[in-house]
Symmetry: C3
Subunit: 273 residues, 3 copies
């Protein structure tokens, strides 16, 4: 009863996701295939990297994850299989695994080159179907990862730049909005532990969250802490700081989106100035 998850930028309009599942399930009918999402913005490797970081902790050992955001399909980019947190991930070597490597989750990696595990005919445009899917089915059935191709040192994996917040001279931490979710919540790249390293919060010193010229004071524990329609900062389900509006859309409220800077610091509350 192996689980295979799919995270892609294929969308749902076409037959692409369906045929990928056809290949997996025709190879290994007992697999359970789970869609994470197929609506990663086309070719947005960074978006996929953050999103997938929140996925694998909720899957059991042995799960095989197929991660296809692959603008370089058909060119010279490599395809990787990695073992991470007792699970497997098959992904292009284009940086989409940057956060897994940074989190020390990756245990080993191979370059997927052994075409005996691919479909007989490999197209130039759809390696998801022709390579990723049959290889995933093989791993899920228990194939030893080393059979897929030569080992790759983790230092050699391609990494994306500018993924992590920066300490500023004034003691603040400068991060950014990574994505807007379905509810209009703005998810940052600032982790709970980043915030706790800013220094102790007291009844005088609070967390300030700056988005451009707007400020939110305090990180609260639930949406309902503020009135409906009011903004708040909260540690979201990904474990990252999120900017939300109670029963509303923060993206509309603040009129900002992915890429916008977010600065956090611990400082005296306005009352004590």
């Amino acid at each position: 009863m192996a689980l295979i998850t799919l995270t892609t930028d294929f969308g749902l309009e076409d037959e692409y996701v369906g045929v990928l599942k056809g290949v997996i399930l025709s190879t290994y009918p007992k697999a359970t295939v789970i869609d994470i999402t197929h609506q990663v913005p086309p070719h947005d490797i960074t978006h996929a990297a953050y999103l997938f970081e929140s996925v694998y902790p909720f899957f059991k050992p042995g799960t095989v994850h197929v991660l296809v955001v692959d603008p370089g399909v058909g060119s010279f980019r490599d395809i990787l299989a990695v073992r991470a947190a007792g699970q497997y991930v098959i992904a292009p070597d284009n940086g989409v695994l940057t956060l897994l490597v940074a989190n020390d989750a990756v245990e080993s990696a191979v370059k997927v080159t052994n075409s005996q595990y691919f479909l007989t005919s490999v197209s130039a445009t759809f390696h998801g179907r022709d390579i990723f899917a049959p290889v995933a089915a093989q791993l899920a059935q228990g194939l030893d990862m080393s059979r897929l191709g030569p080992k790759v040192g983790l230092r050699n994996l391609i990494r994306l730049p500018n993924m992590f917040p920066q300490k500023e001279p004034d003691g603040s931490l400068l991060g950014k909005i990574v994505t807007m979710d379905h509810f209009g919540n703005l998810i940052t790249n600032l982790k709970e532990k980043d915030i706790s390293q800013l220094g102790p919060v007291t009844h005088i010193k609070k967390i300030w969250v700056h988005l451009g010229r707007r400020t939110i004071l305090n990180v609260v524990n639930s949406y309902a802490t503020v009135a409906k329609g009011r903004p708040l900062a909260i540690i979201g389900s990904r474990g990252y700081l999120e900017i939300a509006v109670n029963c509303g859309r923060a993206a509309d409220y603040f009129k900002i989106g992915a890429g916008a800077q977010v600065k956090i610091m611990v400082a005296d509350t306005p009352d004590t100035n």
Copy 2:
């Protein structure tokens, strides 16, 4: 081979649905998880209530339904597990079960409080993943519902107002458009039996359907009863009166949407006036 269905307002862009399935299937790998929809309009409890009413009659006893439209997540709203029509539903106590209760489908209810069945760490923003999903996996595996928490009287469940049509002094029935479906059909809250209670339809007396100042005469048996592009009234697949356009979109034709009033009556045909 227990079935677990998911009805949410999570959308499909993010990892939310995928991780919810990860929790279910990592707990209980033999479950079959079925998406009903994840595109309930955000926080629209009423929409979800009508939609779900059309779902459970098509599932076998023992099915576990997870219904997460939950604007109050993290606040003081309760989470319910109910037994209805031999199946189970896990939902926030926010009125989303109003129609199940009204249909006398609910057999018993408990408040879900026993955290031994939750994920170890419960976030403030994603109870779908942290509470609903693991509890659903437990129920599907045969956990006795009474283990989840204390019994709740059905009279104490929160109910939504204004869900049912009103008898008018002139003998007509005043309902409303509940939703527009993918095909632009306008689904009302007027049931087949509501219509039959208006009085007998004869070759002189017909059913009149009023939408604002527009009128449709007769409830027909198939779209093809009228010419392409023409409007009609029909009992739709939910068992409710629907306004449709043959091979077209009634929502565009009438330029109305959810909330608009619909009045039905049995009266003389125009010819006989």
Copy 3:
């Protein structure tokens, strides 16, 4: 472990796909149900015909495909079950199987009339749920197709017009854009073998692809053959000629869509004129 696939124009907003699965899995809990897509443009039989042609080659014998793009639901159109390439397809007799028949893939066909395999109550608007789904579950469980109704000669199946490219007097081949995919790629109805029949490609004679007044020279082997943002022609994953833009959207670049003419020919390269 039979596979059942679903290809529809139901969209994902409503409960329609979910209840269809409920019927299948409540009848036959061991089925594995796979969504191909539910976003066929409403009532677009031609779109569905091309799309499904790329689906069945990737599924194993015995798979049951449910294909519901059915603007004539509730009228006098027939419902067909066909055996094709060792698999089964249940579809309305409205031309959606045109390409399967043209490819000589269909082995036999029956008209689905035996209501003992339908839901007890059949609505006028949702045969997907009431007929297609329970019949699919029966076929997947091994029901002999002949039990569903009388045999139909393949010549009697309804076929769509204008599906295939035309030879022009000048030796060129005149096809059309069939669809735009999620990435904005423009997929034509010109097959790889159509192109090879235009005559030999040499270092002097190349393939010319004409879209209106724009021309693309050569059919290349990967997106990366051209610079980012530049257009190209390639044999796509469906086995048809596609017009793409490397890391971009051809539909936006050329500002054309489904229905636009595409002419291909082999002729001298500009340099040799």
